[in-house]
């Protein structure tokens, strides 16, 4: 298993495409029937909790594949403008969920220390309600790819493999 760098996006217009990203974040937020609660005149509350809804954010500190990014954005737009109710996103083609575009889309060009950076961001919101955690991920910050299965839990890393840690560690 590799580090999570590629995201699969499936559209009618473009089929299954891979987008190379730097950051991927999921969050499950609360959905309410209108407001989070209603207050009766005696001060008691009626909870209006409905369900959970997933939001996904894909961001780059520096996008190195702008052509892929542009093409995939166009395919998403084509689908949604043509009446599609959703597109698919996931870490691989076996683990995708239905999403629509959410607020917060940005394609920003900035210069830092005279170097130009293309810094895009796409936010998605799950088309359907409910918790359905499909992403089987591990914390790769402290584990290198050669670690065996029982060594991957960073709480039980053996000393013999600590020199293989690939992040924040200087040999």
């Amino acid at each position: 298993m590799a580090k999570l760098t590629d995201i699969v996006i499936i559209t009618e217009a473009g089929g299954t495409e891979t987008l190379t990203i730097q950051n991927y974040a999921e969050s499950d937020e609360l959905e309410f029937w209108g407001s989070s609660f209603d207050e009766a005149i005696d001060g008691t509350l009626r909870s209006n909790f409905r369900d959970f809804r997933r939001r996904i954010g894909v961001t780059y500190n520096l996008c190195t594949t702008p052509d892929d990014y542009r093409r995939i954005c166009n395919n998403i737009a084509t689908d949604l403008l043509n009446g599609a109710e959703y597109i698919y996103i996931g870490i691989d083609s076996d683990n995708v969920i239905r999403v629509v575009l959410d607020d917060g889309f940005a394609s920003r060009v900035q210069y830092a220390n005279q170097h130009g950076l293309f810094v895009p961001k796409i936010n998605f919101k799950a088309y359907e309600l409910g918790l359905d955690i499909t992403l089987d991920f591990e914390d790769w910050r402290f584990i290198n790819e050669s670690a065996v299965g029982d060594q991957r839990d960073y709480r039980y890393i053996y000393e013999s493999v600590t020199n293989e840690l690939d992040y924040g560690f200087i040999v």
């Binding site: 029937w33 207050e39 009766a40 005149i41 005696d42 008691t44 009446g83």
Partner: protein, 416 residues
Amino acid sequence: MGVLTVSTGTITRQFGTFACELQLSSNNITTASTTMKLTNMPKLTQDFEMQDELNDLSELRVNLSEISLSIFDTLGNGSTLFSYINSMTLLDTIQVKVTVNSGVDFFISKKESCNYDWFSRKVTFKAQPALKYDVEVTDYENTNLPDYVSNEDFVAPGDVIKAFLESQGSNPTVKIKGHFFTHDIDDITGVPVDPAPRYMIFEETYVDTYAKAQDITLGFCLIEGAIIGSMLGYSFYVRRNFAGTDSDDFQTINASNLKSFGVEFNKRSIRNFNTSFFIQDNLGTGTQTDIGVNDDEVLDSQGTQDIDILYRIDNMNTIEYSSGWQLQNGGTSVLTTSNMQTITDNAKAGYKAALGLSSSYSVKFEIFGIDTLKPYQYILFGSSIHETVNGKKVRPSYIEYDLENDIIKGEGYIIG
């Protein structure tokens, strides 16, 4: 004629389940079925308030329930709802079937009631029960009436109302509350205990069509001061000032049930409140007797408006038992002037309450949960809300079932 059937399927909401189905009938439409999505949940409303025409309170009308729908234009088959509606003629009908939990209501709309908004991509329209549109109601037949023996084609007035209410919607739960005549088929088909009572009935020939039943039911509404409606699977006829104590007659509302409430003070400047309510008894061939009361009342000699309500229900009969139930020929009606005075007093009490003449204020309220209060029930306010309403009985004059927010909004008047 083609029929396009468009449905939402069953939607689970805060209050339970909801489903909506449209049937667009037109020669310009090809029969097909598809799906639709609502932009939000509809509101079911009914305004029971007395409506005056041209500021003349003597011209009353009976209001009907109404539903407001908002639907995304794009349907499941890729076509747009608006294009279908646009192809209909002004005479074509849109039937709306709404299922809230297990209660089913039917409404009718027409092209003229539809709006399309390009920016929000949605079609909105309002629909009302078939009564408004003179749409033929095909399920009111003699079989709707109680199963009378062939040589005793007598129908109790309550059974006429019941048969009419049963024709609204699909197997509605019928509620008749506060109607003066309480006898029914069981009383006039069996052998009575001696001495046999007499009853007021209709001969079946006067109630054998939907239109006749409608006239009679609305007539009773008028002379009894009753409201009539069809909502949430209930079809009901309730006298305005009816304050029964059966648990189905009312709903106790406490502070924890109320999202909000408020009070408004009303003042109507009524000078004379006159009623003439009569019921005709066909006593014997060619002999028609009107039993009723002219009740004139001066409410405020300085008032600026008068109320004069005049109505007579025709073609009732007294029946008696003599080796079988039969029409009474001659003699006096079983209906007395005292009976009509009771009917009149109740009606006037209901009208006065509804018009704010018997109480100086009306109540506005928002209640949590659409299943908290049935449309035919009155509210009995609990003891810890506010001194103005604690322990008061309030009959809704307007009620709105807001399915989106699972809240009942309404206004009402004090009946006790």
